[in-house]
């Protein structure tokens, strides 16, 4: 059943929720938020879209299978984990740039780790939900 109200709302909510998820991702190191919550919000945006327009349309919107996000995210996260070893520090030590960057703030390896988590969470959640919803039909 397609509801016009939900469809119109989803059309506007999708970019807003994605923006909000990016906001959560970026403020995550010192404030509430982070990769996991951000990833959940982003995937909820797509889930809402799939409720309104059907799973097939959401998959078209995504171009790639969400499964591909998992290895990409894992790679980014493990690169951020491994990077300090090149500087002779223990694994997972936070590396930080000296100068804060406007809008985003301080950038460090923790942000890239969070970015990896963000992508993995989107990939996992969407893969699971799409698998379950496509399996029933």
């Amino acid at each position: 059943m397609r509801s016009p109200i939900l469809q119109t709302a989803a059309k506007y909510l999708l970019p807003i929720l994605l923006l909000f998820s990016a906001f959560l991702l970026l403020r995550g190191h010192y404030h509430p938020g982070g990769g996991f919550v951000g990833g959940l919000v982003a995937s909820i945006a797509f889930v809402l879209h799939s409720f309104a327009y059907g799973t097939d349309n959401t998959m078209k919107l995504l171009w790639y299978k969400p499964l591909t996000l998992i290895p990409i995210g894992l790679m980014i996260a493990s690169a951020a984990m491994f990077a300090p070893v090149l500087f002779g520090l223990p694994v997972m030590t936070g590396l930080w740039f000296d100068q804060p960057i406007p809008v985003i703030g301080m950038i460090g390896s923790a942000l890239f780790f969070d970015l990896g988590v963000y992508l993995v969470v989107i990939g996992v959640v969407l893969t699971i939900l799409f698998t379950i919803s496509l399996y029933t039909h």
Binding site: P71, L74, M75, V85, L89, P90, V91
Partner: protein, 500 residues
Amino acid sequence: MIDNQIIATVLVHLFTALLQLAFWRKTVTQRILSIAGTLTGFLFAANLFTKVYTGSILTMNASNWEAPFGIVFVADMLSATMVLLTSIAALAVSIFSATGVGRARMLYGYFPIFHFLVMGLNGAFLTGDIFNLYVWFEVVIIASFVLLTLGGRKAQLEGAVKYMAMNILASTFFLTGVGLLYGITGSLNMADLALKIPEVENQSIVNLTAMFFLIGFGIKSAVFPLYFWLPSSYHTPPSAVAATFGGLLTKVGIYALFRVFTLVFTPDEFMKTLFIVMGILTILTGAFGAIIKNNIRRLFSYLIVCHIGFIIGGLGLYTKVALLGAVFYLIHDMIVKTNLFLIAGLIRQLRGTMNMEKLGGLYAHYPKISLLIAVVLFSLAGIPPLSGFWPKIYLIEAGFSANNYAFVLSVIIGSFITLYVIARLWSEVFWKNDPAEEIVTDSFKPLKPFKKMLLVLPIGILAATTLYTGLNAEIIIQVADRISTEMLDTTPYIQAVLGN
């Protein structure tokens, strides 16, 4: 001593898995990457082992946070030995999987998941933080769920449901224990806990927490009242997967029992008696279960349960000799149990069945392979001078000096039944005339020599390791001696982690 080397064995498998994900659906590349990855992992593990063996306990503070606050990775003798054995077994399984696992399973990501599993195992062995141990356990569990269900035959899914339910339950118990432990001590670092636990005023709540850990790890390592899930799930997946499970997954539960009940909690009289009683009953139920089974893998599953009893009983006696015997048995068991399931897989390749009644005459057709398998089977049964013999001597000696004749008797009964079962297996599968009238399904003979080699070589590697353990027992005894010394005197471990 602080060293990044510790985490290398974990990272190798992580990067191998990631590389394989990048080569999704390219099964040949994945096979080569898998063997290369496990080989590198083995080299790192051997390096780590020699460093710990010649030097002292190594530690590494992840994220550079100081020890009781951050997560610390510790490699003492027990951890280093377990990592080394895991990487030997992983190398063998990875070579065997190259031909022993179907292409369909590889397309669904068998190899990356296998490497995530080995990564989780290495992480669990090396971590010095009890909550981190829980997380590694979960990594192992999730990977093992996927491996168990890949391919999805009916029997496999049935086994998976039981396995899943019991393992999630075990994790819940473990997590409850961790929560209680944090509530009463305010720490999660195992070395720090070892110092804080004796200072807790209300020792009865400490014992309660210990019981949560006992149940959680007991389910995972399949001890007596909690073992039912193991024989009803381990015979279902492909043999390469069953080898990983049988050789490594239950042993990570044993490792956790050793770690928690020697370092964090010191067992009191009640706990020791409980361990011994559980050990005796595990030996007997496992042994009697194995007698009546006709399917090779079901039989091996019960033998796993039976031999876990030896280790648990050794832990329960809690003397130097007993711990030495238990650790030696663990070393012997990890390699042999992995090999047994690989052998079951090879027999399946040779004859298309694993039912002993339908098998026979393998010795006449494949004498060389049969002799190789005989080495493994007889070292499992503990024929002197092979590797299963020495630890039992220590266990029996420890039982006598503790005047615990029930345990001694059950070790002897368990060993005899193992011997009987192995002898029956040998005569049914190898000596008996082939019962099939027409030509049996042999998927081994048409294989190319290279692929045949890939199936037999891992069994050979593990058999050579077993032979080495048996014939150079004094070296293994030295290793086990150091491990048991570290278990009884935890001061070096605590000093290495916390500094003074």
